[in-house]
C-alpha cells in the first residue's frame, strides 16, 4: 500500500478536525491554508509517482479487491486530485480576505477541508459504493457551506440544491443496488470485467441510464441543471468558487469513468443520448447566461454550457475527443474558479454583482481588468489561451467524425460565450460606475490575499495556453488508459485474474 494514495485524503481530514477545534481562534484559517498547502504537495507527489509508475492502487484496511475498498490513481484521477488541490490552495488563501469571523466561528474552514477531502476521495476511489459515500461527504459539506451564516436567499438556494442532489443520490443508490444484483461486485475494475458476462444486456443499459441521470444531476447537464443557477450565486465568493470549479466536475469525472470503463457495451445508444444531452447543455447554458445580469449568475450558466463540451468529448468516444474532454476538465476548473474569485473582488470594490449597476473597474483597477481578461478570454476560447486548445480539440474531433451540425453548435456556443464575457467587460469594467464610485484596488482590506491566488490561477491559464503540447501529450496518455483499462484492472485485481 502506498501512502501516496492516502495522504491527499488524510491531510484535509486532519486539517478539518484541527481547524474545527480551533474555530474560535484566528489560528483556524492558518491551519486551513497549511492543510491545503500540504495537500497540494501530497498531490504533486502522487502525480509524479503515477507518471513514473503508471496506475497505482491500494486496498484500505488490507482487504483484497474486489471485497474491500480500493483506492486507485490512474492519470485521470491523479490530475483531478492535483487540480483540486491547486484550486483548494488558491481558495484557502483567498478566504483570508473573504470569510467573516462569524463564518469562521461557525466552522467554515472545517467544512471547506471536508469538501476538499470529499472531492479528492471521489476522484481516488475505485469502488462504486465508496464513490457514493464521497458524494455524500461532498453534499453535506457543501450544504453546510451554502447556508453558513446565510439569510433567506442562502437557505432557498441550499434547499433546492439539496433536494435535487438527493434525488440524484437515490437514483445512484438504486442503480448501485441493481448493478450489484446483476454482477455481484461494485469494484470498478471488477465491474469492467463482469459486465461483459451479464446475460441481459438490455437491463444493463437501463442501469447505465440510471447512472447517467444520477451523475447528470451532479454534473448539471440538460435537463437536470436547475439547481446550479439557483444556488451558486448565493454563498460567499470563496465557497462559490470551489463549487464552480470542482463540484460539477466530479459528476463529469464519474460520467467519464463509468461510461468508458464499465458501460461501454452499447455505445450506439448511451453515447448518442450523451451527444444530444451535450448539445442541449451547451446551447441552454449559453442562452441562459445571455439573459442574466448578475455577475455570478452569468458565470453559473456558463458552467453549464462548458459542461456540455466535456460531455460532448465523452459522447464522441474517439481518442481525440476524450483528449479534448480531459484537457477541457483541467482548463475549466482553473478558469472557472478564477472567474468567481474575480467576481468576489469586483463585488468588494464596487459594492454589487449586478453588472448593470456597477462599473469603472477598468479605469480605477486596471490590474483586475487584466486578470479578468485572461480567464474570460480563455473561457470563450481565444487563442492562445487554454480554452482555445480545449475547444479546438473537441471541435476537431467532431469534424473528424463528420458531425457538421454538432461542430457548428460547439462553435456557435463559443461565439455566444464571447457575447456574455463582453457584456461583463463592457458593463462592469468599461463603463463608469453609475454612482460615481472609483473602485481602486488599494481600498481592498486584504489585497495580497485576494489578488495572489487570482494571479496564480491566471498564470496557470497562460502557461497551459502558451505551451499546450505537454498537456495534450499528457491528456493523450490519460485517454489511452481510459480506452484500454487493462493496466487499471490488473493493478487493482492483481496479475492472477
Amino acid at each position: 500500500m502506498s501512502w501516496y494514495l492516502t495522504l491527499p485524503l488524510v491531510i484535509p481530514f486532519a486539517a478539518s478536525i484541527i481547524a474545527f477545534l480551533l474555530r474560535d481562534n484566528a489560528m483556524g484559517r492558518w491551519v486551513s491554508i497549511m492543510g491545503s498547502g500540504l495537500g497540494l504537495a501530497a498531490s504533486i507527489v502522487l502525480m509524479v509517482v503515477v507518471l513514473e509508475q503508471g496506475v497505482i492502487a491500494g486496498q484500505m484496511g488490507n482487504w483484497p479487491a474486489p471485497f474491500g475498498i480500493t483506492l486507485v490513481a490512474d492519470l485521470l484521477s491523479a490530475v483531478m486530485v492535483l487540480i483540486t488541490a491547486i484550486t483548494g490552495f488558491a481558495v484557502a488563501i483567498y478566504a483570508l480576505g473573504d470569510i467573516t469571523e462569524r463564518q469562521e466561528r461557525l466552522g467554515y474552514h472545517a467544512l471547506f477541508q471536508i469538501l476538499l477531502a470529499g472531492v479528492t476521495g471521489a476522484f481516488l476511489t475505485g469502488d462504486l459504493f465508496n464513490l457514493y459515500v464521497w458524494f455524500e461527504v461532498m453534499l453535506i459539506a457543501s450544504f453546510g457551506l451554502l447556508i453558513l451564516n446565510g439569510g433567506k436567499e442562502q437557505i432557498d438556494g441550499g434547499v433546492k440544491y439539496v433536494a435535487l442532489n438527493l434525488i440524484s443520490t437515490i437514483l445512484f443508490l438504486t442503480g448501485i443496488g441493481l448493478l450489484y444484483g446483476m454482477t455481484g461486485t461494485l469494484n470498478f475494475a471488477d465491474l469492467a470485467l463482469k459486465v461483459n458476462e451479464v446475460e441481459n444486456q438490455g437491463l444493463l443499459t437501463v442501469v447505465a441510464m440510471m447512472f447517467m441521470v444520477a451523475f447528470g444531476v451532479k454534473a448539471a447537464v440538460f435537463p437536470l441543471f436547475f439547481w446550479l443557477p439557483a444556488a451558486y450565486h448565493t454563498p460567499s465568493f470563496s465557497v462559490s468558487a470551489v463549487f464552480a470549479g470542482l463540484l460539477t466536475k466530479v459528476g463529469v469525472y464519474a460520467l467519464i469513468r463509468m461510461f468508458t470503463m464499465v458501460f461501454d457495451h452499447d455505445i450506439g445508444f448511451t453515447h448518442t443520448v450523451l451527444l444530444w444531452v451535450a448539445c442541449f447543455t451547451m446551447v441552454i447554458g449559453v442562452l441562459g447566461a445571455a439573459a442574466q445580469s448578475d455577475f455570478r449568475k452569468i458565470l453559473s450558466f456558463h458552467i453549464i454550457s462548458q459542461i456540455g463540451y466535456m460531455v460532448l468529448g465523452l459522447a464522441l468516444m474517439t481518442p481525440l475527443a476524450l483528449v479534448g474532454a480531459v484537457f477541457y476538465l483541467v482548463h475549466h476548473i482553473i478558469v472557472k474558479a478564477n472567474l468567481f474569485l474575480i467576481a468576489g473582488i469586483a463585488k468588494r470594490l464596487t459594492g454589487g454583482t449586478d453588472v448593470y449597476k456597477i462599473g469603472g473597474l477598468y479605469k480605477s483597477a486596471p490590474l483586475l481588468a487584466i486578470l479578468f481578461l485572461i480567464p474570460a478570454f480563455s473561457l470563450a476560447g481565444f487563442p492562445p489561451l487554454s480554452g482555445f486548445w480545449a475547444k479546438y480539440i473537441i471541435v476537431k474531433a467532431t469534424l473528424d467524425l463528420e458531425l457538421w451540425f454538432v461542430a457548428f453548435i460547439a462553435l456557435a456556443v463559443g461565439l455566444m460565450t464571447i457575447y456574455s464575457m463582453t457584456k461583463i467587460w463592457a458593463e462592469a469594467f468599461w463603463k463608469p460606475h453609475p454612482e460615481g464610485i472609483e473602485p481602486a484596488l488599494k481600498t481592498l482590506p486584504h489585497k495580497a490575499a485576494q489578488i495572489i491566488p487570482v494571479a496564480g490561477l491566471a498564470v496557470l491559464t497562460i502557461i497551459i495556453g502558451l505551451s499546450p503540447e505537454p498537456f495534450v501529450i499528457f491528456a493523450e496518455r490519460t485517454t489511452a488508459q481510459l480506452l484500454d483499462p487493462t493496466a487499471y484492472i490488473t493493478t487493482v485485481l492483481g496479475e492472477t485474474k
Partner: protein, 139 residues
C-alpha cells in the same frame, strides 16, 4: 420541566444509560453493538437529563462543548486508521495486541479497531447532543 419524579428518575436513568452505552461499545466487536449504538445510548442519557433538568444543566454535566466532543472523536477515529503506518500496513488496517495470550486462549485482545470505535462513539455522542441541545434551546 419541574417534576420531582422526572428529575429523580432521570438521575438514575442517566447513570444506567451511560454504563450500558460503555458495555454496548465494548461488546461491539464480536456481538451486536459498537461505537455507533453506544454513542446513541449515551446521547439518550444526556437527552433525558436535558429534558428533566434543562439544557444548561445538561451542558454542565457534559463538561465539554458537544461539537468539540464530536471533533475529538473524529480525530481519534482518524488516528486509529493512520496508526497502521507504523506497521507498514495500509490505512485502517487493524493492529492487534493480545495481552496474556496462551496457546489455548487469546487473552485480552486489544486493537486499533476498538480505538476507532471509541472515536465513532464520541462523534455520535457529540453530534446528536449538538443537534438536540440546539433544538431544545430554540424551542
Amino acid at each position: 420541566m419541574n417534576s420531582i419524579i422526572l428529575v429523580a428518575g432521570a438521575r438514575l436513568q442517566v447513570v444506567l444509560l451511560l454504563v450500558f452505552s460503555a458495555y454496548m461499545m465494548l461488546r461491539g466487536h464480536n456481538a451486536p453493538g459498537g461505537g455507533f449504538i453506544g454513542g446513541l445510548i449515551a446521547a439518550t442519557g444526556f437527552v433525558v437529563y436535558a429534558i428533566a433538568c434543562g439544557t444548561s444543566d445538561a451542558r454542565k454535566a457534559l463538561r465539554f462543548d458537544p461539537a468539540n466532543i464530536a471533533g475529538v472523536g473524529l480525530g481519534i477515529a482518524l488516528l486509529a486508521g493512520v496508526i497502521a503506518v507504523f506497521w507498514g500496513d495500509a490505512l485502517f488496517t487493524g493492529q492487534w495486541l493480545f495481552i496474556g495470550a496462551t496457546e489455548d486462549s487469546k487473552g485480552i485482545p486489544l486493537s486499533t479497531v476498538l480505538v476507532f470505535d471509541i472515536g465513532v462513539y464520541l462523534v455520535v455522542l457529540g453530534a446528536i447532543l449538538s443537534i438536540t441541545f440546539a433544538l431544545e434551546e430554540a424551542v
